[in-house]
Amino acid sequence: MDNNKILEVKNLRTHFYTDDGIVKAVDGVSFDLKKGETLGIVGETGSGKSVTALSILNLIPQPTGKIIEGEILFEGVDMTKLKRRELQKYRGNKISMIFQDPMTSLNPVYTIGNQLMESIVIHRRMSKKNAKEEAVKLLQLVGIPEPKKRLTSYPHEFSGGMRQRVMIAMALANDPSILIADEPTTALDVTIQAQILELMDELKNKTNSSIIIITHDLGVVAKYASRVMVMYGGRPVEFSNINNIFYEPLHPYTIGLMNSITRLDEKKKEKLKPIEGTPPSLIDLPKGCVFASRCNYKIDKCTSKYPPLKEIKGNHYVACYRAKEFMEGSLSRKG
């Protein structure tokens, strides 16, 4: 089983040292990624999902951000221990990333072809001519019509969806084993979002790479991911396969999230059951469970000690003292 793990993150803690105090953006995150799977990381603004992704390639904004603890094991190498130079060999090569905003991720003064070829030449030491052929192939792969002609186009000549396709082409240029997608479709329209996600899924199956998709959209996760990590306040609160998360959530936050979403297929107009209150400030994290102040199931223990992420049943990890009660049915999810 273990050989199947391509990436393992252990107790990652990434903090930001700001004027206002220490922001504990990621505070104890552990997960693993299997070969060929799509892992969803779900959470709201400030849950630490993006920082988790950035930490993997150590792309956290310097000098305020710092990984203060933890291991990130990729092919047996701890990425946190690598020097800048060594890490660059991994970036865009074995692990690539695509970001939310396709408008700002491309350099406006270079042609698409230029930027694509740069990434190929850096990591593969190819001749320019071969790199060009490769670039055409890549554009074709991501569904850009007339790829040869488009090589000489500038980013502003592309629509948002097309730019995101180019970003994917760049990310795939060196056959990465892991593709990290940080809200890849949030800036795009619904019909374009569907195109991009389908494309990513298709390419993943073709190349047998793994995807980490970071999103706030539970629909996207339900469709494309096989396992999900739900994050809140810089920590994972629940981690399991999608069926467990969607049909038998055991953490009050996940349950609340499921109750607050509007569903296209809802039959009767039922009132939503939102989670009251707002997420806590990551600077002044409360003692105990971060979610306790918004939780309807809070007990005394919750405010004194943080519940550890525990395996409640087979491969279903939950960080809640009352998870067992949800599982056994003695506690209702309707709250």
Binding site: T278, P280, K287
Partner: protein, 303 residues
């Protein structure tokens, strides 16, 4: 910094209410001040400015002599206990004259920038808010002003108006407006299309109300920054004019005028030039450092 001595019990019961109250109840200006206080260089600049203003106000109390008093016996003396900065060719105490000279510099800096700012705000607001024809006319006019080198323009105006403090105010004040107008126009343009302006228009707010209540307060911060830095520029221009004999006339002590008079003795009595020159450098540095700090404080993303 966050209170470390807070009771742990209080932390446990962190309701959203409490979590929120950790933000100090403050406006942009208080926030900016809080950040400014942490910036050591800016605070150094601020200290220099305060010190300078105090010196200017209390000049007669600090200065050991009268600035125009000539002590014949003491002419052209180097720095000593009796004359800290030495004396000039006419036997006047340079320490005293440097102290009194600060009055001219500070006045010119503040009044001239005040004039530029007022004119600039008015025309910048017109151009930025109404656009079209007012914008074209005002900005082309500003272009004409940009075409002149600042100092050359000042010399030209002073030649027409004749020397004197009031005329310096006018010359420097009028020349500077275009910079303020352009800057203010820019920040108005960026604010004009914000949703809260649209919200006010949707409520039926008048143009006057929108400009004064919504745009001005939001567009003003960069003006303060630029104004502060510009005080330094105004002081240099004034010194240059006085150096050229177009500004403040002797025997009124002004740093530029002192530099000009000491030029002849640069080899024999370098202190005559050093101290007024040093005063100019320190003063300008003070305003630039403070202005720089202000900019960072108003816009923390710059860092």
């Amino acid at each position: 910094m966050y209170p470390e001595n807070r009771e742990p019990e209080a932390k446990e019961e962190a309701t959203p209410e409490l979590a929120e109250s950790k933000y100090s109840r403050s406006s942009l200006y208080k926030d900016a001040w809080r950040r400014l206080r942490k910036n050591k260089l800016a605070m150094l600049g601020f200290a220099i400015i305060i010190l300078l203003i105090l010196i200017a106000i209390f000049a007669p109390l600090i200065a050991p002599y009268n600035p125009t008093e000539r002590i014949k016996a003491d002419s052209s003396l180097g720095p000593s206990a009796k004359h800290l900065f030495g004396t000039d060719i006419l036997g006047r105490d340079i320490f005293t004259r440097v102290i009194f000279g600060s009055r001219i510099s500070i006045q010119v800096g503040i009044v001239a920038v005040g004039i530029s700012l007022t004119i600039g705000l008015f025309f910048g607001a017109l151009a930025g808010y109404f656009g079209n024809i007012p914008d074209t006319i005002i900005m082309r006019l500003a272009d004409i002003f940009f075409a002149f080198p600042y100092i050359l323009g000042a010399i030209a105006i002073m030649t027409i108006l004749g020397p004197g403090l009031i005329n310096i105010f006018i010359a420097i004040g009028i020349l500077g407006w275009a910079y303020f107008a352009r800057l203010f126009r820019g920040s108005i343009l960026s604010i004009k299309n914000k949703e809260y302006i649209e919200a006010a228009r949707a409520l039926g707010a008048s143009n006057f109300r929108i400009i004064t209540k919504h745009i001005f307060p939001n567009a003003f911060a960069p003006m303060i920054v630029y104004g502060t830095m510009n005080v330094g520029t105004a002081i240099i221009v004034e010194a240059a004019l006085s150096f050229l004999g177009l500004g403040v006339q002797p025997p009124t002590p002004a740093w530029g005028e002192m530099l000009s008079e000491s030029l002849k003795y640069i080899n024999t009595a370098p202190w005559m030039m050093f101290f007024p020159g040093f005063a100019i450098v320190i003063t300008v540095l003070g305003f630039v450092l403070f202005g720089d700090g202000l900019r960072d404080a108003f816009d923390p993303r710059m860092k």
